[in-house]
Point group: C2
Chain length 317, copies 2
């Protein structure tokens, strides 16, 4: 981030016709974006929602309320414009890109060993890296993958520690028995992949999935290019945990768009030191919470850019 | 509200391509709006931010960080497009109307007796009623008035009860001594206007101000016409308290857009049973929090209207 641009943004903010601090987080956001964009008047002009889909071997264990074929069906729905993220990306003025990753070749069931080979994991990371639009000035990563709250829970348990039970939740809406199967799958996955606890990227390979690795790759590409990121829900945050725990400062460019209704999301955000912008009970994924929060960033930019100063407006400061 | 339209909206919502409930409050909002608009696919096409400005006799008592002339200066700023609400109304696609109410004739200092005569209070209520655009399909009331957090605190204390100290806050940014002056002014105002505790409209006359009464009038007009309202911060909520405690169901058409950083706002919302959509530390007024939350309602409408059903998309439900 550009420290001079941050200071210039703070200086401009102080002169705008409002009591100091009265726009709350909008002011912080404007200054934060100023640092990443290198200007005192940041703008969001080309946001991108980069959506990734993958299938999970662990889905066979009854960890989702939906069958695995729903992943491919929803990809068709994204392409036809009928999903929630299509509507939310459109009203956010964001470009939506959809990348389905080998849906006919699910990852291996991680309760039996690593979900992916090194090659597979690298290919998914790279697909994510390459998905970042060179023109994008804001990235919202999104995902679809039946079974992926279980993979995200296993990733968080391996990297952040804690009992499997604390990281599993209702996902798309499993019952008590489904919840117990999720916790059991996470416990088995940790036992079957002892190397996962030693290194976050190894955890990603052993317990994650292609769409999760792709999000990690996309968030890393955004970090390399200085593009701010709005993190979506629990699965996206798990992908971010991998990066945060692999590279110091690797997540400096990311904000938490919202706190999902998936119970473990709050704990994952807390581990990352992120305070979510919204809390509206969303638990859909797809990047929906991230797309919704684009409006908050736009509001921050609009005030920072468009407001008159006390001097310009002749207001007693 | 139209119960059949609500049911039709719920029925449509159940068929959309997402796990049930996974869009959280967006789903509730769509169904709630459906009831008010009488259609299963509600839309926000003509939102109005109706901004009112007034001056307060109590401002002479040093209850604000700014001098009283700032009210008129900010009205000029609203008209020139330089204030925060101009930017936020614009990006919300909302029409902004500004009505300054007798700025050169402040209300009387309520520590000495009633702030307004019956005629003055009625005129302000009527100005608010008439300000509602007949074409508007959503109302965001906003206000500007140096000293008006003190008036709002006095109103809440008279109508909702509790000690003056619990209702006063930092407003535009007063120091400890200013905060003590605010609490003292509220205590004196309650003593000087014993009738204020007996009736909410009498409290409005004795302790409110013209812009507060105008907001009450605008919210009442919206109720009469079935136009949904997004309440802004503490002062707007105090205006809503008058209506809620005067007419049973008088606030059924209103949502809390946000929870302000002004400490007493949370207590006022709780008294009204309202759960705010946003909590971003705003404490500016002008309708800024309300305008920001328009994006959330638009998101709710976009999903309800634009998403494919499971049958349309061929997704296994």
């Amino acid at each position: 981030p550009d420290a001079a641009a941050r200071r210039a943004a703070e200086e401009r903010n102080r002169q705008l016709t409002k009591p100091p601090g009265s726009l709350g987080r909008l002011e912080e956001l404007a200054v934060w974006l100023a640092g990443w964009q290198g200007t005192a008047r940041p703008r969001i002009e080309r946001p991108q929602v980069a959506l990734f889909a993958g299938n999970h071997g662990v889905a066979r264990r009854g960890v989702s309320a939906y069958p695995a074929e729903v992943t491919a069906q929803m990809v068709a729905n994204f392409e036809a414009g009928g999903a929630a993220i299509n509507q939310l990306a459109r009203i956010a003025g964001a470009r939506l890109t959809v990348r389905a990753l080998d849906l006919d070749r699910p990852t291996a069931d991680f309760t039996q060993g690593p979900a992916m080979s090194e090659e597979e994991c690298c290919a998914a990371l790279q697909a994510g890296w390459e998905a970042l639009d060179p023109e994008a000035d804001l990235l919202v990563p999104g995902e679809m993958g039946i079974g992926n709250t279980t993979a995200a829970a296993a990733l968080c348990a391996a990297i952040l520690g804690g009992e499997p039970e604390t990281w599993v939740g209702r996902g798309t809406g499993v019952d008590e028995a489904g919840l117990a199967r999720k916790a059991e799958a996470v416990a088995l996955g940790l036992r079957a992949n002892p190397s996962a606890r030693r290194d976050p990227l190894e955890a990603l390979r052993c317990l994650g999935g292609r769409e999760i690795a792709a999000m990690t790759g996309a968030i890393a590409a955004a970090r390399a290019r200085g593009v701010p990121v709005l993190l979506d829900g629990f699965i996206c945050t798990a992908a971010a945990v991998v990066l945060a725990r692999s590279v110091p400062g690797g997540l400096d460019h990311a904000l938490a768009a919202h706190r999902s209704a998936e119970a473990a999301h709050g704990a994952a955000l807390e581990a990352l030191g992120l305070d979510p912008l919204l809390s509206l009970g969303l638990r859909l994924g797809e990047g929906t919470g991230g797309a919704l929060a684009v409006a908050v960033l736009r509001a921050a930019c609009a005030c920072q850019d468009g407001m008159a100063t006390f001097a310009e407006a002749g207001v007693s400061g």
